[in-house]
Amino acid sequence: MAQGWLQIALFAVVLVALTKPLGVYMARVFTNQHVFLTPVLGPIERFTYRVLRVRPGEGQDWKGYARSLIVFSLLFWVALYLILRTQGVQPFNPQGFHSAPWDVNFNTTSSFITNTNWQYYGGEATMSYFSQMAGLAVQNFVSAAVGIAVVVALIRGIVARSGREIGNFWADLTRTILYVLLPISIVGALFLVSQGVIQNLGHYQVIHTLTGGNQVLAQGPVASQEAIKELGTNGGGFFNVNSAYPFENPSGLTNFVELLLILVIPAGLTYTYGRMVGSQRQGWAIFSAMFVLFIVGVAVVYLAEQHGSPAQHAAGLHTAAFDGSTGGNMVGKEQRFGVADSSLWTAVTTVTSCGAVNAAFESLTGIGGAVPFVNLGFSEVVFGGVGAGLYSMLLYVLLAVFIGGLMVGRTPEYLGKKIQAREIKLVSLGVLFTPLVTLLSAGIASAAPVAKQSIYAGRNPSGLSETLYAYLSQANNNGSAWAGYTGFVQPHAPGNVGAHGLSFTDLLGGIVMIGARFAPILFVLAIAGALAGKKVSPPGLGTMRTDNPTFVFLLVGVVILVGALTFFPAILLGPVANGLSGRLF
């Protein structure tokens, strides 16, 4: 296992090392300063503003910002739905795929607009290249940029010296895509191609194999989508088995780079935050709280997976590692990633709201599988989705400040701004909304007879895990899955012929994703507006510090208390029941 720990440590070190440079870069981008790409991208940026007819310097109050964001997202929802519905008549469709059923399209559209990338369809068997490129991949950029724009607006609200404006949505959107997402994606995509990730527009190829069989190799513009899929913490695979598929993720090196792409922006944003609020220690405090929760998660998955599963042991298989074999639970895992990299990926993709996978979640051991549940139970605040993770974490920071203030009897105050009734009400709504939606929808889906056909594993803890995880993942805009759960029945016929959706499951999931994405965004923007109007009072003797280890401890405590305890009973009945009993079902 030493080699596995070494890889995990190496990843952590590189991540920490990248946090500052990217954080500084993004801070300069969001405050409209000169960066090394400005000479190239500046003219394109100004051209974009001219075409959009926006004045980037014109600030919006929180309502104006929210209105632009909602109108923009709504329009894109309609456009994406139409693209998916009319797939059959579009170009770049060498396999001649018809459209998937309307209810599956509803789910998919809602999924990609909200940065969830929950997938009831299998990419290579359902989607044309046009749908993948001009429909889904566009959303990978746009929904990521929306998340980042919201956190930037919140930061502006926190630092504003009594005003009402929190920035310009269109400028934030443009600059995020142009200066952050697109350049890193281009470099990332080309690197991935050089390592074997495919990038072409050709027909699927029929291969006569070495021993005389046939194998049809699916093709496609994979690398360009893979890069932004990780970077934007989207996670929707080009192929059904996502980053486990060798054409998406061919080696230990690509695995490492893709993991970095997932975490680098959420980690970098904590540094950006410190810089924008004028105190790097505030940023590192938040980073530390996230980092602790992340590393504990990685360690638990790795130890559990290396131990092996009850089914393996009952079959008489020895799961100890020895020379030339990784040992452990290799069910649903790839040889080139082994146990360590699969475990690391499992933690990374669930602390962020990425949801891409390189191993089968449903085949994780009970305790190893409990970690994704707990990470999602934290409402994606441990690094989290790009932008979304930090703005959700800042809600917890305000909550921790409030609770800390109550405990020591001081007026709760964050960075010189008093936290009052209105803010705390909004924070509570923001923090509790997603868990409430999750438990309600998972409860309905567990009880409703019509939802039974979505479950693969049957009436046992794994079956409950599937249902609970489906709604936990959709509500938190993550998109990873206990993949037995389905909303799409596809016979083995080419081109979606005869396929049908499971309407109840598709519609409930779609509504959950939209609600749990946009309601918290509105709460966050309202908080930004409320904070922007407040005067800054200088810190005094009575100010509770929010940049020291005590506060990090308090913050971690609040996240665990609120997040995990909400879901503790449900998680006990699913993965933990599997993990603690050796019983087979």
Partner: protein, 198 residues
């Protein structure tokens, strides 16, 4: 209302612009560059035998018969155009049964050629389904066990087969990342070249 109308117009223009740039220009420029700089990789890292393409070195194939190295079990019969996970849970009785069967079959196949082989020595990857269903690799331990059988069937010495295994083992990336694995398709091609079946 004026604000709303303005937002609608801006959003509509943004939609068209972003779809063109992010949805068409970006994914079409990348293959343009890739097809020139990395044509082999961009088109699937194909490998050929006796002048004909027999697969991709990244996508595993199913091998049967005693003369070949066998790939890992697959939930999808090595489908490369309709992929899915096996989704067997950790406490599934079905999973126990399938591993038990795989284990018995593996021992039955290899033991006649490697008398000292015991159940404890069978590596986990040999009897468990991979994630992708097309795992191109097997573990080194798995290959070393199968080497006895392949050497006997193809009239090669064990040392010769082990040398071929070593030549087709992908080490960890940069020496540290991932796990080493033996590429089954490339190894079997090398076998066919060195000692063809008559």
């Amino acid at each position: 209302m004026a604000g709303l109308r303005r937002d609608l117009v801006t959003a509509a223009v943004a939609l068209v612009l972003m779809t063109l740039v992010l949805g068409l220009a970006y994914p079409l420029v990348i293959p343009g560059i890739a097809q020139v700089v990395f044509p082999g990789q961009a088109n699937g890292s194909k490998v050929s035998f006796e002048g004909r393409t027999v697969g991709s070195k990244l996508i595993g194939q199913e091998f049967k018969g005693r003369a070949y190295f066998h790939s890992r079990p697959s939930a999808t019969e090595y489908s490369a155009d309709a992929t899915f996970f096996g989704n067997a849970g950790p406490n599934s009785a079905e999973l126990r049964d399938s591993i038990r069967e795989e284990l018995a079959a593996y021992l039955k196949r290899e033991k006649p050629y490697d008398r000292s082989l015991t159940r404890e020595q069978v590596p986990v990857d040999a009897v468990t389904e991979s994630a992708s269903g097309v795992d191109p690799q097997i573990s080194e331990a798995n290959a070393r066990i199968q080497a006895h059988r392949v050497a006997a069937v193809r009239n090669l010495s064990l040392a010769e087969v082990e040398a071929l295994i070593a030549a087709h083992t992908d080490g960890r990336s940069l020496g540290v990342l991932g796990e080493p694995g033996v590429n089954v398709l490339r190894l079997n091609i090398a076998l066919e070249e060195k000692a063809p079946l008559r």
